[in-house]
Amino acid sequence: MGSTSAHTNEGLGRRDVIKRSAALGLIAVPTMSFLSACASSDSGTDEKVEKGTKSAKNPLGVNETAPLEVVIFNGGFGEQYAIDAEKKYNEAFPKAPKVKHTATEKIQSTLQPRFNGGTPPDLIDNSGAEQMDMGVLVGKKQLLDLTPLLDAPSYDDPAKKVRDTLRPGIVEMGQFDGDPVWIMYYAYTVYGVWYSQTALEKLDAAYPETWDDMLALCAKAKRKGIAGWTYPGKYPYYIPFSLYPFIGKIGGREVLDKIDNLEPNAWKDPAVKAAFEAYYELQQKGYILKGTPGLTHIQSQTEWTKGNALFIPNGSWVENEAAPTTPEDFKMMVGAPSSLDSSDKLPYGTIWASGGEPFVVPAKAKNPEGAMEQLRIMLSEESSKNFTQSVKSLSAFNGGTDGLALSTAMQSGVDVLERAGENVVNPRLQDWYVKLQKEQIGNAGLGEMMAGRATPAETIKKIQAFADAAAKDQSIKHYKHQ
């Protein structure tokens, strides 16, 4: 063992070098390099393909030989429905190369560098956990106005425009600031209180149309050792799926609009207080499944399909997502929020239904006509039926369910929509202000209240403060209901 000290004048200790370089290297936190790895570059060339000639068969004037590139979010709906529609595109334009199709779960990581470089694909299904912020995309003028598509003759009936074949609210959802339509939502989601008809029958009960019945049913279930409600405690922003339409039903559409517009004191409306207190009562009376605040969406859905809880706030994708654990005789159904009392502004049946799977065409897309044509094909009856059959979800195309054998969940979705008629509400917080909705209102607000750690009054105060801060924040773009 010789000396390894560097303090002698023998030159340089080996350990000394190693130690110092190690210290230098360790200080480098990867985060920084990671962030600037997606640094912006100069904009790409803004070359678009030449337009083709418009004709009855080709109303958008697609260039018949130009390539088309589509990026699909590969999540609950998979990618097959898009592949099927792309095949039809290639049949319509045999001279064009095969549509370039990519499916990914990580939309933002995949596409961010391409947006920064100015070379985005032609059509994007901007969905999932890594959804790119729509507000920013619109604000930075990165998207194309889809009005030409909406005004084009529809695929099945040239006498009708595409916009007249869509379900109510779809076009409005794609608007952010006036007339242009930036987003084409392809799926149609019904939100509400999901339950098992079989489980209710075992308790000799029907779906409770009033809040008193709801409490009575929960009490009855509790005596049998079944919880009334569960929800994904890890992602408390599921609670609004049944709570927002409940607020809208109690206080009317205006209350939800005020909330979306971030108006001062919007959350202090008596309807919000009444709805919060009703939900808080579920917690206080012990009707919420024990341990719920620690469950993921999958875990809570599994508890629900196992029959340990009667109700869960959710959206129509739950049928597909919970399929592996759902028993044969479960009879999944969706219900509208129960009536709180007779002074509710809107009748029973009021429901939240709106578009899902937002498709966008980037402003710098090379072949925007092709992208819109692809959407036009997807909005045909045949493609819509194919979508509905394969992924068990309604599409934005109004219809396309005739003659299909629907599951109980799908059928009940169609039924509640029919019953709701005009009374479909569409809160927009989750599209306009993602952070406010998911993290602040969901996690910090409702999650704490439903876990019994904050009272409704405290929660309202907290959420109002979050909303006020978002309204003041100049770094985010603000939107208003038209």
Partner: protein
């Protein structure tokens, strides 16, 4: 020979240094530049906004909360992990009862324990976090079920769903997954300590505890110090981020109780599309890391021992 020392080193390290400059230093400089812009990360156009991001950061409650949690992790994790690892390593190498023919041995079955401790190191942190997420599941998780089985049902809790416990749950997972590495590291260090030191101490009648503090720890000090920096980096950086992102509510914990700086950087950049502000928080994280490394290097200085 002293005067040309650093040129001499740099000459040998020119290629790695160039790589380091391009892939580490340059991105740092770029990030600091971006922290003065309003770049969204979704479009190539942005403007200079001066110190706006910095003033916003200083008024941002969530930033302070995340900073608090990151600092707590960086203080507690190395302490607990290295303490445990030192204890285990000592028991495996030196702590055994005296048996014939050897002055120092480990406890019985130490070769098996070495493998057992090291095992979590083989698993990716993502897998570890997922496994623990199941264990912490309040309704059917291993933890609550065990508590119920041994009749301690009153101790059941929501674990990751409880703001007072969530961060500690994350810490337990991080300790569990990293302690094995340090056990192996310290074992290697202890193996290089000459046996005669221990024999001499034993002849003088030193107890195990005295042996540890008077011989093992001083001779291992260099290794402990490196381990301390390394563990700190894990606590500030990628391991902590992964565990929080995979396991906790939100992610970020109920009421921000597990939010840590790297997670906040990630969310700001990739969820809120505020890349400029995210790099600002990144700069904050850089400062914290530098401070930590400086403190450890400064406090860790000791007289060098030669043997």
């Amino acid at each position: 020979m002293q005067h040309g020392k650093y040129r001499f080193i740099a000459g040998f390290l020119v290629v790695p240094l160039a790589l380091y400059a391009v892939f580490v230093i340059w991105p740092f400089v770029q990030s600091i530049y971006y922290s003065f812009t309003d770049w969204t990360g979704l479009s190539p156009d942005f403007e200079m906004v001066g110190f706006d991001n910095y003033s916003k950061m200083l008024q941002d409650d969530i930033f302070w909360k995340s900073l608090q949690h990151s600092v707590l992790l960086v203080l507690l994790l190395p302490l607990v992990t290295l303490g445990l690892a030192l204890f285990f390593a000592f028991m495996l190498n030196v702590g055994g009862r005296r048996r014939k023919g050897a002055a120092v041995t480990g406890v019985r079955g130490s070769s098996f324990y070495k493998i057992a401790y090291f095992f979590p190191q083989v698993l990716s942190i993502v897998i570890v976090a997922l496994l623990f997420q199941f264990a912490f599941n309040p309704t059917s998780g291993m933890l609550n079920s065990t508590l119920k089985a041994i009749g301690a049902g009153s101790l059941q809790s929501d674990w990751l769903g409880d703001p007072d416990l969530a961060l500690y749950c994350v810490m337990v997972v991080l300790i569990w997954s990293t302690v094995g590495f340090f056990v192996v590291l310290f074992s290697a260090g202890m193996a290089s300590i000459p046996k005669d030191f221990y024999e001499a101490a034993l002849l003088d009648g030193a107890s195990r505890i005295t042996t540890f503090f008077r011989i093992t720890l001083p001779l291992l000090w260099d290794t402990v110090q490196s381990g301390w920096v390394y563990m700190g980096i894990l606590a500030l950086g990628v391991e902590a981020f992964t565990a929080v992102q995979v396991m906790t509510v939100g992610p970020g914990g109920p009421d921000y109780s597990t939010s840590v700086l790297p997670l906040y950087v990630y969310q700001t950049a990739f969820r809120d599309a505020q890349a400029g502000y995210a790099t600002t928080i990144g700069v904050g994280l850089l400062i914290v890391t530098m401070l930590f490394a400086a403190v450890v290097m400064r406090l860790g200085r000791r007289e060098r021992l030669e043997f």
